[in-house]
Symmetry: C2
C-alpha cells in the first residue's frame, strides 16, 4: 500500500510515545503520530488593523450595545440584566460601555478544563492553542459510501478518531448528528459513547435544560467527582451562538447560565455571515459579532462573576452569486485576525475554526482549510473548532478529511516547536559546517547523526516518495491513504481505561433518564 510511510513503525523516532491504548500492535496497524501536548503559539499575531481600527470596532460595538441593543429571548436573562441596571425594553437590552467593560474585566484571561483523565487537561487562553474535532454536521461522507445522513455508528467512528489523534485535544460537539437515535435521548447515548470512547474534554450542547443538566451530571460521574468537586473547576464546556443579527435565543442562554453558575466555561460564538446576517464589510461584521458576544459575556459575568468564558468568531462571507456561506476565504482570514485583536483588547480567550466550502476532501478543501487554520494561528486563536473533519460548509463530516486535517494540525504543532527556529551555537552549527567543508555532505556528520531521528516533521498521510515509487505502489491518492488510516484506527481501536463501577454508574444514569423520557423535543 502507498502509505507505508504512515503505517510502518519507525522505532528510531523519538517523537513516538503517547499512544498507549490507542493502537493494537498485533494487527500490524501502527501510525506514528506526535505525542499529546498543548501547543503554544510563539508567533506574534498578524494584526491587520491598527490601534485606531481596534478602537473603531470597539466603539462601534459599544454603540450597538448602548443605542441599538441586543434581544434576549430569555426571561431569566432579562431579569438579571434589568437587575444589573441595563435598560430593558421588551426583549431588547441596552447596556453602557462602563458596565460591559466592568463585566468583561471579571473574566479570566486563561483557564484550564480537566476532563476525567487529568492528563488530557487543556489550557484555554494565553498563547495556548487547542484543537477540537468537527462538530454538528448532519451528514458524513467517505470515499466509499459518499454522502449520507449521520448515524450512531458513524458518530462512534469519529469519536474513535477524536480519541486516537493526540493533536485533537477536545471531544466537542457531535461529529455527525446520529439521526437514528431519537432526539429526546440522543444526548444520553452520545455522551455515554463520548465519555467511554474518549477521555478528553467534553462539550454540552446548550439545547434545553435537560440536555445540559444530563451532560453535566454524566461528566461529573465519569470523573468520579462530587457535586462540589465538579463545581470547583472547569470539567467541560459549552459553546453558544447568537442568532445574528442582534439576538440571543432561549436555550443557548439558558444552557450558558447553567454552566456558568457551576463554574463551567462558555464560549460565545456569534455567526455573523457578512452580506447575510451581518454587514457586507468585514469590520462591520466583526463589530456586530463583538457586540453580540460581549452582551452574552456581560450577562454571564454579572450572573456568575469570574466564570470562565471565551469569545468566538464565526465571521465569514457569503458567495454573492448564491447567498450561501463561503469558508476559508481571504475575507474569513482577515475577520479571524481582526477578532483576535479585539479578543486581546478585552483579555478574552479566542475561539475560531478550521473550515472550508469544498464538498469532498480534494485540493480545494485543503487550500480553504489551510487558509482557515493558518488564520487561526495568525489570530492567536486559543481553541480551534472543527479543526479536523469538516466539509461542505459544515454540512459534512468526513473521516478522510479528519485524517488529512490532523496532518496539517501536526505540522502546526511542529511549526510551533522552538527547535524549528532555535539559534544556539549548536543550531548555527559552525563546527559541522567547518567539518564538512565544500566537498562533503551532511548525511554522515556527527552533528546530523545526533539529531536526524527527530530533526524534522514526520508525516502521517503524506506520501513523500518520488512519482515512480508512488506509482509502482498503486498510485494511491491522498483521500485513499487517509481512508486506510481511518479504517486502521477504527478497526484497531481500544478505548481508554475507565473504572468499571464508573462505567456502570454512567450506564445506569443513561438507562434511568431514558426511562424518564429523556429531554423534551419541542423547543
Amino acid at each position: 500500500m502507498a502509505n507505508d510511510s504512515a503505517t510502518t513503525a519507525r522505532k528510531t523516532n523519538r517523537r513516538a510515545g503517547g499512544r498507549s491504548g490507542n493502537a493494537r500492535r498485533t494487527t500490524g496497524f501502527h501510525l506514528e503520530q506526535m505525542p499529546w501536548r498543548i501547543p503554544v503559539n510563539p508567533d506574534r499575531p498578524t494584526e491587520p488593523v491598527d490601534t485606531e481600527g481596534v478602537q473603531a470596532i470597539h466603539k462601534g460595538a459599544m454603540h450597538i450595545l448602548e443605542n441599538i441593543g441586543i434581544e434576549f429571548l430569555n426571561d431569566e436573562a432579562l431579569t438579571i440584566l434589568k437587575d444589573a441596571g441595563c435598560r430593558v425594553t421588551g426583549n431588547n437590552v441596552r447596556m453602557g460601555e462602563d458596565f460591559v467593560m466592568e463585566m468583561v474585566a471579571r473574566a479570566p484571561t486563561e483557564f484550564t478544563i480537566t476532563p476525567r483523565n487529568p492528563d488530557r487537561a487543556v489550557t484555554i487562553g494565553g498563547k495556548h492553542m487547542v484543537f477540537v474535532n468537527v462538530s454538528s454536521p448532519p451528514n458524513s461522507w467517505d470515499i466509499h459510501r459518499g454522502k449520507r445522513s449521520g448515524d450512531f455508528e458513524t458518530f462512534k467512528d469519529f469519536m474513535k478518531l477524536t480519541q486516537f489523534f493526540n493533536c485533537i485535544h477536545i471531544a466537542g460537539g457531535y461529529p455527525v448528528e446520529p439521526i437514528d437515535i431519537h432526539p429526546s435521548v440522543r444526548h444520553l447515548d452520545c455522551l455515554f459513547e463520548k465519555l467511554t470512547l474518549t477521555d478528553k474534554t467534553c462539550h454540552a450542547y446548550s439545547l434545553g435544560r435537560e440536555r445540559v443538566e444530563d451532560v453535566m451530571e454524566m461528566v461529573r460521574i465519569a470523573g468520579g467527582l462530587s457535586d462540589d468537586e465538579f463545581n470547583a473547576a472547569p470539567r467541560m464546556y459549552t459553546n453558544i451562538n447568537s442568532v445574528s443579527p442582534l439576538k440571543h435565543d432561549f436555550p443557548m442562554i439558558d444552557g450558558a447560565l447553567r454552566l456558568a453558575r457551576r463554574g463551567q466555561p462558555v464560549m460565545v460564538t456569534p455567526f455573523t455571515l457578512a452580506g447575510a446576517m451581518a454587514p457586507v464589510t468585514m469590520s462591520g461584521a466583526v463589530t456586530l459579532s463583538i457586540a453580540e458576544g460581549l452582551a452574552a459575556i456581560a450577562l454571564l459575568q454579572y450572573a456568575a462573576p469570574g466564570c470562565p468564558v471565551g469569545i468566538g468568531t464565526f465571521t465569514s462571507n457569503v458567495d454573492m452569486r448564491s447567498g450561501a456561506p463561503a469558508f476559508g476565504t481571504p475575507e474569513y482570514m482577515r475577520a479571524t485576525q481582526i477578532t483576535g485583536q479585539l479578543a486581546r483588547f478585552y483579555g478574552l480567550p479566542l475561539r475560531s475554526s478550521g473550515v472550508c466550502t469544498a464538498n469532498i476532501p480534494d485540493a480545494q478543501a485543503m487550500w480553504e482549510t489551510s487558509n482557515s487554520l493558518w488564520a487561526a494561528v495568525q489570530s492567536g486563536t486559543n481553541m480551534v473548532y472543527h479543526a479536523a473533519g469538516w466539509l461542505e460548509g459544515g454540512l459534512i463530516a468526513s473521516p478522510e478529511k479528519f485524517v488529512m486535517d490532523c496532518e496539517v494540525l501536526q505540522m502546526i504543532q511542529r511549526y510551533f516547536e522552538p527547535a524549528t527556529f532555535a539559534t544556539t551555537p549548536e543550531d548555527i552549527a559552525l563546527s559541522a559546517i567547518t567539518e564538512v567543508g565544500p566537498n562533503g555532505h551532511y548525511f554522515g556528520c556527527a552533528h546530523t547523526q545526533a539529531r536526524y531521528t527527530d530533526a524534522f516533521y514526520s508525516p502521517i498521510a503524506s506520501d513523500w516518495r518520488n512519482y515512480e515509487a508512488w506509482e509502482a505502489d498503486g498510485a494511491v491518492d491522498t483521500p485513499e491513504r487517509a481512508h486506510r488510516i481511518y479504517r486502521g484506527i477504527v478497526d484497531n481501536f481500544e478505548p481508554p481505561t475507565m473504572d468499571e463501577s464508573i462505567r456502570e454508574e454512567l450506564a445506569d444514569y443513561v438507562a434511568r433518564r431514558k426511562a424518564e423520557g429523556g429531554a423534551p423535543t419541542d423547543f
Copy 2:
C-alpha cells in the same frame, strides 16, 4: 459542466478587466480573473527569531566567509575578489565582514524590471510581492496524460498560462524542459516563444556565455531597445544557485557577472537542504545559505557597484527516511521566515518559492503549497518562484496545479487588499446595523447593494455550490475543473501584440544563431 462559476462571465463584477488579448469571447470560454497588479503585502512579517538570533545567524555567516571561505570555480571571479582584497587560496575565497557589508550596502533595496510591455513592469523589493511561474521541471503531468518528459508543445502551453493569468507577473525559467529541442538551440526557440507568447518579464538561465548573451540580445530586440537603453535599466533577470555546501560553479557566476555589468538583476539562491547539503538544524542551514548568497552578492557589487540583486532562500529539509527533499514542511516555513529577517537586516529583496513534495495535484499538494505560499507572505518575500504549477519537488510541472495555485495566489492578492480590513465608519457600518435591526437580513439593505458586486473574493477553480448541486452537475473534482480551465485558456489563447518588424528581427536572430550552431553543450 461543474465550473460554470469559473467560466461564466459575470458582468457585474468590477474586478473584471485587464484581460485584453487573453480570451477569445467568441468561443464561450471566459474566466473572470483579477486584473493585473503588483501586490503589496501590508502585514508585519512573522519573525520567529529575535534580534540576538538574527545576529547569531549573521555572525555565523560572517565566520564562514572569513574563516572557512567559499569556493568560486570561476577564474574571473577569483581575480576580481583578489583585486578586492579578499584572501584567495586556490578556488577558496575568504572575505571579511567589513568588505561584505560594504558591498551589500551598495545593493538597491528595491528595483523595477520593465519588460517589452511597460504595463507589465514589476517592482522587486520593499513590500511588493510578485509571482513567477513554475520553472525548470524536466517533466509535465496532467490528468489525462500522466507523467511524461517535457516537450516544446507543453512548454508553449505553460507560456500561455503564464501570460493569461494576471496573478503571474514574471515568465521565469522554462516551465518544462523541452527535451525535443536540442540543448544547443533550445534557449533560442524557448525565448522566441516566451517573448512572443508573453509580454512579461523574462529570465535567462546562467548556463553558459552564449545562452546568456543570446537572451539579453533577444530581450533587447523584443523591447525595441538600443544597447544603451537596454543597459540603462533592468529589462530581465537571472537566478543563480550555489552548489552547496560552500561553492559557486563557473556558468552561474559567469552569467551573473554578465547580467550585473549590464545593469540586469541577479537573484542569488543557494539550495541548502538541511541534513544533506547543509546542517540538519534549520538556522544552521539558513546560516550556510546566507554565507553563500552574500559571497556572490559581494562579488557582483564589487564588479558592478549598485547592480540590482536579491537574495533567495531554497532551504528545506530532507525526508530523513529517504534522504529526498521535502517541501512545504513546517521546517521549510520557518527557514523562509528566518531568511526574510536576514534579508531585511541586509536590506536585500527576498526570493522564496511555492513548493510541495506531492506527486499529483491532490489534497497533499495543496496543504504543502499553502504552507509554502503563506510562508512567503509571512516572510515578506518579494519574488515567489514556482508560484504556480509545481509538483513532485520540482520534477513535474502540471497545468492543473498551475490553475489551482493561481486560485491561491489570487486569494493572497485579495487578502492584501485594504478593503478586507478597513475600519472607516462606512466599514463599521453602524447605520446599516441600525437599519436592519434584530429581525432583518443584510442582503437587501442599501449598504450591501452598494458593495456586493466586489465585496468578496470571486473564485476561479473553486466550486462553492452545495453538494447536491455539485453532484447533479457531474461531481467534477478540483483537478478536472482546473483541467477544463487550462484547456479553455490554451485553446482560446491570443498572444499579446508585437510589432511585426520586431517579430521578424527576433526570428532572424534565432535563425542566424541556429545557423551558427547555437550554444556549446559541453559545459
